[in-house]
Amino acid sequence: MSLEQLSKFVEDGESDSARELAETLLVNGANPIEMIEMLTRTMAHVGELFAKLDIFLPEIMMAGDALGGVVKVLGPYLEKAGGRQCKGKVVIGVVKGDLHEIGKNIVKLLLETSGFVVKDLGYDVDPLTFVKEAETMGADFIASSSLMTTTMPRQKEIIEILKDKGIRDKFKVVIGGAPTSQLWADKIGADLYCYDAKSAPERMVSILETSH
């Protein structure tokens, strides 16, 4: 049994087998940092398959769950090895008045599988709830999705509330959803706009890095 096998279990979404094999490998002295790097590549590959719809949403979800299980087992080992990686903490939701949740769910999934810790607030979420939840979580990012021009103003309200509370600098504000654009992001003063879910993890990592 090897790292390759572990990667295969994760890709196939076999959570129990993946978790058990990871435990065995770690007890036998496998390098946790190598393991997480390998699985990050696996997940990137799974993400590419999904982007082409060679696999579908349930399959990538299952792979994500399997990875999540392994990461839990890996946690203590990674900490010892000084390699614990959390790319950032995110609260995500669909803004008030809007029930279109499919895009948001895909973004959430890709963020989780690329190493972000994500709190999902669901849909029809009040701007103030985004802010309060972000404070409670100690989030790095507030990510909001809007699918209708009629609910886009709620994305702006999130930023206004942050300003009024004097905590605008504490969070990076990320926006997305079909009718939103870079232009809208500039207009409301969001930190990042992503056209699709695929590009979000990398671009979020990079804005966090540049701000440190």
Partner: protein, 460 residues
């Protein structure tokens, strides 16, 4: 409402049904059940045949859809409870469902009847741009659609502004926008001399409150008209949606069930999309009391349904319902390309022909991935609906349509990814007169001739 006699029992189940965490509903209940049923009923996608002639598979898809709804139920995200129904209740509802309704009013009323596979009766045709438009074009666009001879029903464009104010979801501007929407639609119909035209309205309503505000037999959405109740994808609802179902039933207009099963999402591939689409018709009938179902299954990445993996699902779902029920259902086209492109005309024609021969009624046509303001015109819908009428009048078989679809698919399917965005309404139409420009008409004529050369005998 088709199943009004059960209304209160169903609504009660939305509060008292089995509890489940929303996070578990799709991954642990919906998708595994669907996968199991696809295997059990040996449902298999065949990429060579976007319009298959497989009666036995159609019947198995029907059965799988029935089992899916009965075994999974319908989840209410507000109460976190599952509304479940029994076999006996499904049977009862299907027995009680009418196979025809008179819709619309006065001289403009139309009889809308169940169709069978390869039916020679032309489909009932609802036209809709399915998109938002600038306030200044709204009335013109309503008028332009109503000028279409083969239109049986109109679902008008959606407003984003009302008297210069941005419509904000759930607020007073939405209520006002909804009233403006129905006034424009009705005024256009009256000015054109077809005031009783059947209408599906109002798309501008994002909330139950917006819909409720326009229920009025004198100036609003009349009882001879229809409105839609959506679902949360897949198999989920919320109180704000159930409120609509209740209000429409109590008001007394025709309820339509709006659903778009997503290819690539929780349904998986073509097989799951077909089964889920059929199951949604049962949900529409039993939970929303819908007299018809308005389906727009679409591709997760393209947001379209004119490529073969979606056409197969549409065709099989239509055949399954046509052969096993007497329900009414419309097939809503979603194209990749935008207005005044040859690709959009071809996509619409293929969608309409495959749907028609498979037993569907038509709802045409969302263009440019249903994403961009002002990007839709009546002319693509016209071509689709003419093609639908032709296929029915001629008594074409599924095999014949399959061949034509394959020929046309060859011209566009590789461009699903990079389809042209085309032009906006005001670039393709004379806005003041609500008629197409010569350039647009010429393109329509050219593609119509091209399709006629493939053996499609257009009515005129």
């Amino acid at each position: 409402m088709a199943t009004a006699y059960r209304l209160w029992e169903i609504l009660e189940r939305a509060r008292t049904g089995r509890f489940m965490d929303e996070d578990d509903f799709l991954p642990k209940r919906f998708t595994p059940t669907l996968k199991k049923l696809i295997k059990q009923y040996e449902i298999k996608y065949d990429p060579k045949n976007p319009c298959p002639s497989d009666d036995a598979m159609a019947d198995r898809i029907w059965q799988a859809a029935w089992d899916l709804f009965r075994d999974v139920g319908y989840y209410n995200t507000d109460s976190h409870r599952i509304i479940e129904v029994t076999d006996a209740e499904i049977k009862e509802a299907l027995y009680m469902a009418n196979d025809q309704y008179w819709v619309g009013g006065g001289k403009d009323a139309r009889l809308w009847k169940h169709r069978t596979v390869e039916d020679k009766t032309p489909p009932f045709c609802i036209m809709s741009p399915d998109i938002t438009v600038d306030e200044k074009y709204h009335q013109s666009m309503c008028m332009a659609y109503l000028k279409e001879p083969l239109l049986d029903g109109l679902c008008g464009p959606i407003l984003e502004e009302t008297f210069g104010h941005l419509i904000e979801s759930g607020g007073p501007s939405e209520i006002s926008g909804c009233i403006q929407h129905i006034y424009n639609q009705k005024m256009a119909a009256r000015l054109l001399g077809r005031p009783g035209t059947f209408m599906v309205a109002v798309g501008t309503a994002e909330h139950d409150s917006g819909q409720i505000a326009v229920s009025d037999d004198n100036w609003g959405v009349q009882k001879t008209d229809s409105r839609l109740v959506g679902s949360l994808t897949e198999f989920k609802t919320a109180d704000t949606l159930l409120n609509r179902a209740l209000h429409y039933a109590q008001y007394g207009c025709f309820t339509g069930n709006l659903t778009g099963a997503i290819y690539g999402g929780w349904c998986g591939g073509s097989e799951g999309t077909a089964v889920t689409t059929v199951a949604y018709s049962l949900i529409g009938l039993m939970i929303h009391g819908a007299i018809y179902n308005q389906h727009f299954p679409f591709h997760l990445n393209y947001c379209s349904n004119t490529t073969r993996e979606l056409l197969w699902a549409i065709s099989m779902a239509g055949q399954a319902m046509a052969r096993n029920s007497k329900l009414l259902y419309t097939s809503n086209g979603f194209a990749n390309a935008g207005p005044m492109t040859e690709m959009l005309f071809r996509e619409t024609a293929v969608h309409a022909m495959v749907s028609t021969v498979s037993g569907w009624h038509l709802w045409e046509m969302a263009s440019a991935r249903n994403k961009y303001r002002n990007r839709a015109t009546p002319l693509e819908a016209r071509l689709g609906i003419e093609a639908g009428h032709a296929v029915a009048n001629q008594g074409m078989s599924r095999a014949e349509v399959n061949e034509i679809a394959n020929r046309l698919l060859a011209t566009y399917e590789d461009h699903a990814v990079d389809a042209p965005m085309g032009s906006e309404y005001q670039e393709c139409y004379d806005v003041a007169k609500a008629v197409p420009t010569q350039e647009h008409l010429d393109m329509y004529r050219r593609i119509k001739d091209e399709i006629a050369a493939l053996g499609v005998k257009f009515p005129y």
